[in-house]
């Protein structure tokens, strides 16, 4: 990696990543790239987020659903861990809490395949500085 020495370099990385994301959104096949984030701070991992993360990665591959699964930090919903955020292309992200392997399976089969919502949704109850 070449060192970042200018504002343009920073902007380039930002633009690259934004383009990657919009490519995913505009992809032909609506199921092509689902984006999944698993809350994996200490508390999430203690609640079993690692198992869910592995399960999602393995199962999505087995079931031939192209998706990007990444880890992220604490979403703040300690009472509902493990938490998983699923963003279907072109849609608002949805956060599911209390995710067990069974629920993760349900999320894949019902929500990701069919857009059918399943139990355990945690509504967003905060504003971020980007909303203003």
């Amino acid at each position: 990696m070449a060192k970042i020495t200018s504002l343009d370099d920073l902007r380039k990385i930002k633009k690259n990543l934004e383009e990657q994301i919009s490519l995913r959104e505009k992809a032909e096949n609506p199921e092509s790239l689902v984006q999944i984030k698993v809350g994996m701070a200490t508390s999430g991992i203690a609640a079993g987020a690692k198992e869910i993360f592995t399960f999602l990665v393995d199962e999505l591959e087995k079931r031939n659903i192209p998706a990007i699964v990444t880890q992220t930090g604490d979403m703040g919903y300690s009472y509902a861990e493990p938490t998983v955020e699923v963003k279907l292309p072109g849609q608002e992200p949805v956060v599911f809490g209390w995710v067990t392997k069974e629920r993760a399976d349900e999320i894949i089969e019902k929500y990701i395949r069919n857009g059918e919502l399943v139990e355990g949704i945690i509504p967003q109850n905060y504003k971020t500085i980007d909303d203003k």
């Binding site: 200490t42 300690s78 109850n125 500085i129």
Partner: protein, 597 residues
């Protein structure tokens, strides 16, 4: 939306559940069935919306209609009108409190979104191990702006004007701290990040480091530029292995990208960051003790002045800030001090992250603007008290803080108001207690913590706190006298006045605030030999009510010390001499025959 055209989300948070949201779900499903809409509409129960006050909440997707105060009998109308005829049920729609117009999309109900995330802006959003995701969210742009457009004193001026105060607890103005460090002679100076989060129940710093480590690294570099320090150190406790791992990855990535190290952004400014591990001593959160610990010496505080800004790490000027304080820096630089100062109250600007814990439904991490009330936090964001019990107190500020009660629920949360109420902001732990908590025991718990964590250097803290703890122990055992209360009061004052550092000066706070707010409970323990929460084992006795006892023998079998005697189908009796008061019989009995006096 695949097979289903509509989704109806019904809040299943405890608040809404207690106002019959489960019945709403059932009624909706019956109506759906009656109209043969099973393949068309799906009802889903969700977690708490955070609008408990207006519950039960029902939201219809995809049009985002947001209904409040829904009753079970409204189910029919929602299905008939909204789903079948496509007309929203106006009377149930959430109305804007100012204009009184119905608001349809829940995303626009900003009035009711009490949380504002500045510090946690990237937490749970980006991959903390990928620097590019941070950069995509304007990461390192603030550092660029500082190095290329602002002089160091201008950076300090921005922080000063923003009104940001230290989030570690005491609330010293950050800009002023930077100014003092900048004025100290260099060139060898240090920026230290205090990540020694020690309050029981507080985990916001860990979450920031684990979820958004670059926000802290960037802010440390900005601070380094502002005060003229080329070195940064993060003092983190070894109990946070995940945070340490992610910080190491973040530092390595930032170095590879040239965002830390020599000549950042091609400028003359160089800055490096190293980690220093603490062994998890509470006192090392105090800045002078922290610095001694980093130097390899015993983690003991020393008298201030000299302040670290003048003589700190290795005797050089050192600026120490808390993790959460640093996480505020980049947004302030990018959005301007006026933006930050517009949030919060006159004296406390911006937001504060709290770790909500204890007897509350939505345990978790929240970030709220300063000036919000405890009531809003507990009943609206926190979803109220667990199991519908009665609120008793909330402990803020950890072992240095105090207990706030019902009468403080509507006090706006600021540094000053909390101190005036006998507690303090602290690092942001917030432990909620209900009627089952004994306040004398709570005070004793915190005292035992400080006794354990006292470094032992000064007598008031080492000896005084131990005596406080002993008196409290005596009271909880039922051996206290009214003179003991006077002794407690006096001792508290002496310790506060004479202890060397913040730990000792604040350690009597839990005792003082419980004495102030729960005087009755102390008197009950001493005079009546009673603990109303049934927590003090020496003051309670378990008995079996002969009327209700069926002689099922369940309790006798479970009793770990065989203190319960009785034949099958005969009334059982507890042998008080053997009973250890573990409460197993009470939990086991299905006939409510076991009771406590």
């Amino acid at each position: 939306m695949g097979t289903y055209k509509y989704h109806i989300l019904v809040c299943g948070g405890t608040g809404c559940k207690s106002s019959q949201s489960a019945q709403i779900v059932q009624n909706l499903n019956e109506e759906i069935k009656a109209n043969n809409l099973e393949n068309f509409v799906k009802v889903v129960t969700t977690g708490c919306f955070g609008f408990c006050e207006r519950g039960p909440i029902v939201k219809v997707l995809p049009d985002n209609s947001f209904y409040n105060y829904v009753k079970p009998e409204d189910a029919k109308e929602i299905i008939n009108e909204h789903i079948i005829k496509g007309r929203r049920v106006e009377r149930l729609l959430f109305r804007d409190p100012v204009t009184n117009k119905p608001v349809t999309d829940s995303k626009h109900i900003n009035f009711y979104q009490k949380q504002l995330r500045i510090v946690l802006r990237n937490c749970g959003v980006i991959d903390p191990e990928n620097i590019e995701e941070y950069i995509a969210r304007d990461g390192y742009l603030a550092l660029y702006k500082c190095l290329n457009e602002l002089k160091p004193n201008e950076v300090i001026d921005i922080i000063k004007r923003s009104g940001l105060r230290g989030r570690g607890g005491a609330g010293f103005p950050t800009g002023v701290k930077w100014e003092i460090a900048a004025a100290s002679p260099g060139p060898e100076k240090y920026v230290v990040c205090n990540a020694d989060e020690g309050d029981p129940g507080a985990f916001m710093d860990r979450s920031v480091l684990e979820g958004d480590p670059h926000s802290v690294l960037e802010a440390m570099a900005i601070c380094g530029y502002a005060i003229g320090a080329p070195h940064g150190l993060i003092y983190i406790r070894a109990e946070y292995p995940m945070a340490i791992k992610r910080l190491k990855i973040a530092i390595k990535q930032a170095e590879e990208y040239g965002l830390l190290g020599k000549n950042i952004f091609g400028s003359d400014f160089s800055f490096d960051i190293e980690l220093r591990y603490g062994a998890g001593a509470f006192v090392c959160g105090e800045e002078t003790a922290l610095i001694h610990s980093m130097e390899g010496n015993r983690g003991e505080p020393t008298v201030k002045p000299p302040y670290p800004a003048v003589s700190g790490y290795k005797g050089k000027p050192t600026n120490v800030n808390n993790v959460e304080t640093f996480a505020n820096i980049s947004p302030i630089i990018l959005r301007g001090p006026e933006w930050f100062a517009s949030i919060g109250t006159e004296k406390s600007k911006g937001t504060k992250v709290f770790a909500l814990a204890g007897k509350i439904n939505n345990v978790g991490l929240i970030e709220v603007p300063m000036g919000i009330t405890l009531r809003e936090i507990i009943y609206e964001i926190g979803g109220g008290i667990k199991n519908g019990k009665k609120f008793k107190a909330v402990q803020t500020g950890g072992p240095s803080g105090g207990c706030l009660t019902e009468k403080h629920l509507d006090t706006p949360i600021e540094y000053e108001t909390l101190v005036a109420a006998g507690s303090m902001m602290g690092s942001g732990g917030m432990i909620v207690m209900d009627e089952d908590d004994c306040m004398v025991s709570v005070a004793k718990f915190y005292l035992d913590f400080t006794v354990e964590e006292s470094c032992g250097k000064c007598a008031p803290c080492r000896i005084g706190n131990k005596r406080l703890s002993e008196i409290l122990d005596k009271i909880t055992k039922g051996n206290g006298t009214m003179e003991d209360i006077e002794l407690l009061k006096n001792l508290c004052m002496v310790i506060k006045d004479t202890a060397l550092c913040g730990l000792g000066q604040t350690s009597p706070n839990p005792v003082q605030s419980t004495l102030e707010n729960f005087w009755d409970e102390y008197v009950e323990h001493i005079v009546d030999k009673k603990c109303r929460a049934n927590k003090c084992k020496d003051l309670i006795h378990y008995y079996i009510d002969p009327e209700n006892c069926t002689g099922c023998m369940a309790c006798a079998r479970k009793c770990p010390v065989n203190a319960i005697v009785g034949e099958r189908k005969q009334v059982h009796v507890i042998n008080q001499d053997l009973c250890t008061k573990c409460g197993t019989c009470l939990e086991t009995c299905k006939f409510n025959a076991v009771y406590i006096i």
